[in-house]
Homo-oligomer: 264 residues x 2
């Protein structure tokens, strides 16, 4: 997807909401167990119901890998289903990969060719030559971990302002126009410093909902310079209920979140 | 595998060599294409031939993910084959994962339960709570990225001694006796500082062979305080030849590498 399409879709749908499919096979509503691939059926039903009210879908690879080869198949079917039916949804492989160059080129092949994701989350620890293999692709994006939502961000990201160094240095790399950044919703004390460095870059923001981030602060403080943000919510939507009415409950949750987003 | 078993195997086999299965389906000897899963057949034949001369097998997940669901199946069959036939081989999922706690617990399930690997490589960027889900498992190990072999290690790992902070801080975590570290063979200038901090920890050392690391310096400088090292070689062994004699050539390569290891 081109960046201007994503921006246009945000304006059309008037939301920044990204649906996080952290689909745990053990939490799928029991009445779906009759299907041979209950994870895919669950994902498909959520996307069918919610696609008009969300801007992006983030698929968390861990939850699929935990089911082995069958899980990888559910993952493949889900992204194929989105690409085929809802090409206006921006797709994110939340995979947090990166390795030396020849290995990263294989990960890029896995997620941008074999699976046709629009973007992938990448850990910056191994530096430029672990990231640039992903940046060679047209209309594909790298979402670099900057400041994550979890407690462990205080171990290495915040000391010596590593998260700011990651942002500043990566902005000097070739094709840095294809870089987006993960910034946790729980890290509102740092929003201003981040937007000062990258006023226009897209930010993927996890940590709203179950992790306690405040959606009002996110929207107020991160959209001053541009509307380029994606707010991810996973558990609060997909596990809103595990009854037969799970889609109604998921939609109510989406409606509530969208009502909290002060879209101007 | 228990650590003392791994140490005993090193003494018995008199080698530190880890076979890296970075198996690119396009580089498998063409005569193996008759098999429905040429990647697995290639891996199996290499392990059958070399198991007595190596201590560990490292499977690089990127190369399997690039083949989609079929690739994940090849990966699964390979680790199952090793566990069933050669339980004396220490297995490493070179996956470089890590995420927030509930996601990391899914990765741990994927690699330690669904796939029964002995260990997994992990990126430290997200800190303690992204790692400790893996450390809960008995006789399973986390191999934390410290100082990698690639050029990009100069971007974030070396400035402000981040690699040393990663080592020092992680040593204070619970169950840190299950931590090993990745140290690139190309980083011999830093070996002394690293061993001063962790004289007894196992180190996984990539970067010998195609990447130019000097195996003599590795052995000489990293085994002064303990024999706890694993030297990974991938391409120089598995792609020694793609003719029908590829196993003979792979074995010659292994014999040459082992002859270079001054095992005392």
């Amino acid at each position: 997807m081109r960046l201007n399409e994503l921006q246009k879709n945000i304006e059309l749908k008037k939301t920044y909401l990204c649906l996080g499919l952290d689909t745990d096979i053990e939490k799928v509503p029991p009445h779906l167990n009759k299907y041979s691939d209950s994870v895919f059926e669950f994902n498909k039903s959520l996307i069918d119901r919610l696609h008009n009210k969300i801007i992006a879908v983030k698929i968390n690879t861990a939850f699929y890998e935990a089911n082995g080869t069958e899980g990888w198949s559910s993952l493949t079917k889900t992204v194929d289903y989105i690409n085929h039916n809802y090409p206006d949804l921006f797709t994110i492989a939340d995979a947090k990969r990166a390795d030396i160059g020849n290995t990263s080129s294989m990960y890029a092949k896995a997620f941008f060719e074999k699976l046709n994701f629009d973007s992938i989350t990448i850990s910056p620890y191994m530096g430029k030559d672990s990231v640039n293999q992903f940046l060679k692709y047209e209309n594909k994006y790298v979402i670099l971990l900057a400041l994550t939502s979890n407690e462990g961000s205080h171990d290495f990201q915040i000391p010596n302002d590593l998260y700011l160094n990651v942002i500043a240095k990566s902005q000097d790399w070739e094709e840095s126009n294809k870089l987006m950044y993960v910034v946790g919703a729980t890290k509102d004390d740092y929003f201003e410093k981040i937007r000062a460095l990258i006023p226009e870059s897209f930010l993927l923001i996890p940590g709203v909902g179950s992790q306690g981030g405040d959606i009002n602060k996110v929207v107020k403080n991160l959209t001053k310079t541009s509307k380029n943000i994606l707010i991810n919510v996973s558990r609060a939507i997909i596990y809103a209920s595990n009854s037969k009415e799970y889609l109604d409950e998921a939609e109510k949750s989406v409606d509530y979140i969208n009502s909290q987003i002060d879209f101007k």
